[in-house]
Amino acid sequence: MSLLEVRNLRKSYGALKVTDDLDLSVEEGELHAIIGPNGAGKSTLIAQLSGQSGSDGGSVRFDGTEMMGRAMHRRVRAGMSRSFQITSILPGFTALENVASAVQARSGSSFRFFSPVAEESALNDQALAALDRVGIADRAFFNAGSLSHGEKRQLELAIALATRPRLLLLDEPLAGTSGAEADRLVEVMRGLKGAVTLVLIEHDMDAVFALADRISVLVYGRIIATGTPDQIRDDPQVRAAYLGEEEGT
């Protein structure tokens, strides 16, 4: 049984079918990349899988349990986390507090009113470790809103990691990062392989083909091909629909 099993997933915005009867299986432990042209519906798919937006129909099974109809925070608690294509952080919190909040969410009740949370070293230590992993430990005590764009992307990943997901849905984690930052994030993802199941949406084809165990190609809300990087590279349909287009530009 696959860790994530998506069947007949649908979503329309008016007449536009953004997710069109989509099927997808993600095996435990694999890094499954999803590529596709702009507007193909990749972010919409992540939003549907994570529970941020509703679906018009279909089924999303995670570890055998139907997730459809469950709110986003409950899917996170079940082990499905995500990162956002457009950075979503708590700008008035420090970087450390951003990540510590994610640790807090899975460590006991937050209906505690009296003891200062800033002094909970168990939360801070884990948060610092996550920041260190993505390479911005030196920014721990900076306001998240004041970080550079690339650092915010690193923070975004650290927050997602801190929820300790079994399945991590990453929506273009490399978008807008500098070369060095991107290298670091690719290293982090490589380090996660095997330990965490990853769904990676990414336009950076070098990163995708270097990291992915399997790749699915999403065009107009449908998966037109799934296979190993080699299979995808040689697939004529994919070349026509997507990669060819890339080479043309």
């Binding site: 979503s88 919190f93 899975r106 937050s110 505690r112 200062p116």
Partner: protein, 312 residues
Amino acid sequence: MRLIPNRAWAATILFTAFAVLPFLAVALDDSYLVVIASRILCYAIAALALDLILGYGGMVSFGHAAYLGIGAYAVAILSRAGITDLGLHMLAAIAAAAVFALVTGAISLRTRGIYFIMITLAFAQMAYFFFVSLSAYGGDDGVTLNARSTLFGQTILEDDTALYYTVLVLLIGLYLLAVAITRSRFGRVLTGARENPVRMQAIGFSPFRYQLTAFIISGCMTAIAGVMLANQTSYVSPAFMNWHRSGELVVMVVFGGIGNLLGAVAGATIALLLEEWLAVLTEHWPLLFGLILVLVVLYSRDGLSGLFRGRR
């Protein structure tokens, strides 16, 4: 430039000033000073309570006067029933406020922004007209209390200074409680949900439960202010929950600086003092007050507390 090194110092100075004020009143032979200061402290509690949800939770309640009224009517209704103990008045006020906040909060929190403001206002107006129609308690005119609440069976609160210190102790206690809450796990979730609710959901929190809990805590604290205000004026009427008054509470919070608790206390103090002084100068004092508010908000986004810190 920082005139006051931190909030703990500022709080110590402010509360010490309040603590010595009755001695000043004796020295000046001005007993009215304690009366007006008691009123200020009651409003400071209410403004503090509002700042907890407005400043930290991003919930602009435009109906918080309803809780002042609930607290005040708890005193009026229980007193008439022969129950005079302050502790019981408090308990009844807190329980009634909690129920009202639970029901209205659960509905209001389905909305955001201007709709949240309007719906909290609408609920407060409903409470207002409920008490207007309560003819057993004077309807529109309200009721005069025959006596103040009793403390451990004693009538010591009849003494204005004793009442004053009781309110001051409550204010300090609730201030410390509010500070603790904002620094706690709960406070972090509350603030995070204000900053970015989607992010909080994406790490596994459902903001609604935390926001509703904060809304209830704030309502209960405001009801405590209402209990003390009824005792201070010895008079209870629907005017306690007039929407003007809800607006005044918001003004106090904005005036003092949103989201630092002590600012709400300072804001209530200065707003009421200005009201006293300007009213002596001219009957058009709201105009002057409005002008001052505009200047403070224009020149310091953090209200008066921002002026102390200098401009950002």
